[in-house]
């Protein structure tokens, strides 16, 4: 391949191709007749309640969009307030302590009245009638720990605490009604505490890496790992009632949605909730199936569809390969969505960063400042960048695209700028001395010589982007992060792998495709490595 064809022309064609991807996002979000957006927090019980809400709404003829496992309390409540979510299951105690920042007080009924009034006044969002069961934080240890140290209550734990290591969810570590308050109430001090995600917390306890964890009193994991829940003998954890928390739009304009969800009120008692959690978290039954069983047991299915399947009947966990095959259709959709997120955000980043890099090279005075400024974006943890997008743009595809776009700018900008700036200075000088105009120097000399460096920047951005896009699932943008996020919440490693493996393959494929593009763009006389002195 000789260079006559015009390297900039080829580069331009490539960029245009990527840029065309920009036309897609409009088609991405089906503009259906305003579906009800149902979200949940990322742990098993919240998933299950969210799915029950969704099925109940569908059974009553509503269109539903699921954002299950959206994020922790702040994130999900933020999305509800902001209007990107219509309903998610919340606990009255969490509302009182974590969202309102008030001290625990009164009976469950009083707490409910308090949050219902204040939330309505302050944000126009509403608590529908509680579902029936009460949940609370629970502190658990391994059975042999309990026996060896004679632990039965939290007061016992306070006594033995100096020898024990704790592993708690980030939520629990940070909240006044979590560890800080607990430690104060019982005068408890552990040898060590660390922050652990749901997915690893129980495994860490079972394998002896930590000795004490937090959970929920209705957790299925407590059975699965044969744990002992320590009695809250000083009554520190207030009982929390679960209820649908609905956004302003539903409160103001959708009494029909309120009525459909209202049918769930009071039908889900402690016993049933524990049983359902066990089905989900211990038996590993599919979420949709457990939710159906729940609605059946709550008397909302019209009876005929049979009783709870016993544990013996439940499906044996299939092999990973069978599991992937079973989910192939979903996986293909998630992969396409992922690819779309990557190509649109990367394409726009190229369209912005490349011209900006060239511009900065012409005005070098401010260049380093601007590039460093963009570099600061890179130092933000990607999950934080995604979270910052929610107040601005809500949840879903758009904020994810913006975050991924911002994340992709730096490598492309940096490489474009330094590639063009450092392009073979002797050749550039000679071309200038022989009468090339600055424009000719840029298009005929600097840009072609910088093309390999620019492409390397684009490749770096692409591979980072494929990885970061898995986090987009946290703000409801879908893609291969969906099974990863759900799998982490449900401690289901097969589900995690069903997202992680395709994502890794995708990164390799995208990098390979761009490597080919790099060979097309690389000018003929310039070799990949130091090819200059072959003949010396």
């Amino acid at each position: 391949m000789r260079a006559e064809a015009g390297v900039p022309g080829r580069l331009l064609a490539l960029l245009l191709g990527l840029g065309l991807g920009l036309a897609f996002p409009a088609a991405l979000e089906g503009q259906a007749d305003s579906p009800v957006v149902v979200a949940s927090k990322p742990f098993g019980e919240s998933y299950l309640l969210g799915e029950i809400f969704a099925q109940q709404l569908e059974a009553r003829g509503f269109q539903v969009e699921r954002r299950l496992g959206l994020g922790a309390t702040e994130l999900t409540f933020q999305a509800l307030r902001q209007g990107s979510v219509d309903v998610y299951p919340e606990y009255t105690g969490t509302g009182l302590l974590a969202i309102l920042g008030e001290a625990p007080q009164g009976s469950p009924a009083q707490v409910f009245r308090r949050v219902a009034t204040v939330f309505q006044e302050r944000w126009g969002v509403g608590w529908l009638a509680p579902l029936g069961f009460e949940n609370s934080y629970a502190v658990a240890v391994r059975r042999e720990t309990a026996e060896a140290l004679e632990l039965r209550t939290l007061s016992d734990l306070a006594r033995a605490g100096a020898e024990l290591r704790g592993g708690f969810s980030p939520d629990f570590l940070g909240r006044a009604d979590g560890l800080p308050g607990l430690a104060r109430a019982y005068g408890m001090e552990l040898a060590q505490t660390r922050s652990l995600l749901q997915a690893v917390k129980y495994e860490a306890l079972a394998s002896g890496d930590v000795d004490v964890i937090d959970g929920y009193s209705t957790d299925g994991f407590i059975v699965r790992y044969d744990l002992v829940v320590l009695e809250d003998d000083r009554g520190f954890f207030p009982p929390y009632q679960a209820a649908p928390l609905v956004g302003r739009a539903v409160m103001d304009h959708r009494p029909d949605v309120q009525a459909a969800l209202g049918e769930l009120a009071g039908r889900l008692d402690d016993e049933l909730m524990r049983r359902l959690n066990r089905r989900l978290e211990v038996d590993g039954a599919p979420l949709a199936e457990v939710a159906r069983e729940a609605r059946n047991a709550m008397g909302l299915l019209g009876g005929a569809e049979g009783a709870f399947p016993s544990r013996a009947e439940s499906t044996v966990a299939p092999t990973l390969r069978a599991y992937l095959w079973e989910r192939r259709q979903t996986l293909v959709q998630q992969t396409l969505r992922h690819l779309l997120l990557v190509s649109v955000s990367l394409g726009s980043a190229i369209l912005v960063a490349l011209p900006l890099g060239l511009l900065l090279e012409r005005a070098r005075g401010g260049a380093e400042g601007v590039i460093r400024g963009v570099g600061v974006l890179q130092t933000l943890p990607s999950i934080a960048l995604l979270a910052f997008m929610i107040p601005l743009l809500g949840i879903g595809v758009l904020p994810a695209l913006v975050a991924l776009f911002l994340y992709s700018l730096y490598p492309i900008l940096r490489n474009t700028y330094s590639g063009v700036r450092d392009a073979d200075p002797v050749a550039v000088e000679a071309a200038r001395a022989l009468g090339m105009t600055p424009g000719q120097l840029l298009t005929q000399v600097r840009l072609p010589l910088a093309a390999p460096v620019i492409m390397a920047g684009i490749r770096t951005a692409a591979v980072l982007n494929v990885g970061t896009a898995t986090l987009a699932a946290f703000i409801g943008a879908g893609g291969l992060g969906d099974p990863i996020v759900s799998g982490l919440a449900l401690a289901d490693s097969r589900m995690i792998l069903s997202g992680a493996i395709p994502a890794a393959l995708l990164a390799v494929l995208v990098d390979g495709a761009l490597a080919l593009a790099e060979r097309v763009v690389r000018p003929g006389g310039v070799q990949a490595e130091h090819g200059w002195d072959l003949m010396e």
Partner: protein, 258 residues
């Protein structure tokens, strides 16, 4: 036959200088590169600028294609103030060769040599380029489609020279064109350059730190030191009378006895 003799033969006793610097000063920050330098180069003449690094010889050279502009003083090209000429068209009409050749690595040899005729929009660009390659002893059929990295150092300098000659300029500026070559190749290149000068009759300014090269190739030698021309004379005059102590030292160091 030198350029001066040619001028005399044509009966032009009072020729307009091809290149002229009058009382030129140039500083870079606190560093003074040129301190009131004056120099006239007559048409067809080859003047060598000799001196150590930092003597200002390259700065003076680059004044003549407006790659550098004077702080004070005047630079004239073919009788016209260089600052009044469009720098881009001035550069296209002035040949330029630098030490490492400066070939564009992503263009093959022929395209590199086509550069200036293409920029000037001349007719028969490829013919001009091929003729120039022939002149420097690189048959275009053999070398035209090679990449610069596939050439030896000497071949690359030949291509750079061909590129400077292709548009048939009146003036050629050379900045240490043979400085990076081994002794044998340098000798061959000097021989070829003298031949080209003789046949084409261009005006040239040659920057070199090699006094022997200057004595061999130039009609006149300007010895520079700390931004000034300390001695300007023909090789014969210089050998007969170094004039200043510094020139005598240079001659001694180069192993040339006065």
């Amino acid at each position: 036959m030198t350029g001066m003799d040619q001028a005399a033969e044509h009966g032009l006793p009072e020729t307009v200088p091809a290149l002229e610097a009058g009382g030129v000063w140039k500083g870079y920050g606190s560093v003074r590169a040129l301190e009131g330098v004056s120099l006239r180069v007559t048409p067809g003449e080859c003047v060598a600028l000799v001196g150590e690094s930092g003597s200002g010889k390259t700065t003076l050279l680059r004044m003549f294609n407006r790659m550098v502009e004077p702080d004070r003083g005047i630079v004239r090209v073919l009788g016209r103030d260089a600052l009044e000429l469009d720098p881009v068209s001035l550069r296209r009409r002035t040949g330029y060769v630098q030490q490492e050749g400066g070939l564009l690595p992503h263009w093959d040899v022929l395209r590199n040599v086509c550069l200036v005729p293409t920029l000037l929009g001349q007719l028969g660009v490829r013919e001009l380029a091929k003729a120039a390659l022939d002149r420097v002893g690189l048959p275009p059929s053999e070398f035209g489609r090679r990449w610069p990295r596939e050439l030896s150092g000497g071949q690359r300098q030949r291509v750079a020279l061909a590129r400077a000659l292709a548009a048939e300029p009146d003036v050629i500026l050379l900045d240490e064109p043979f400085g990076a070559l081994d002794a044998i190749t340098r000798g061959e290149m000097q021989e070829m350059f003298r031949e080209l000068q003789r046949t084409l009759g261009f005006t040239s300014v040659l920057v070199t730190h090699d006094l022997r090269e200057a004595l061999r190739l130039a009609d006149r030698v300007a010895v520079m030191k700390s931004g000034e021309v300390v001695r300007l004379a023909s090789p014969e005059e210089l050998l007969a009378d170094p004039g200043v102590e510094y020139v005598a030292q240079l001659l001694a160091r180069a192993g040339v006895d006065p």
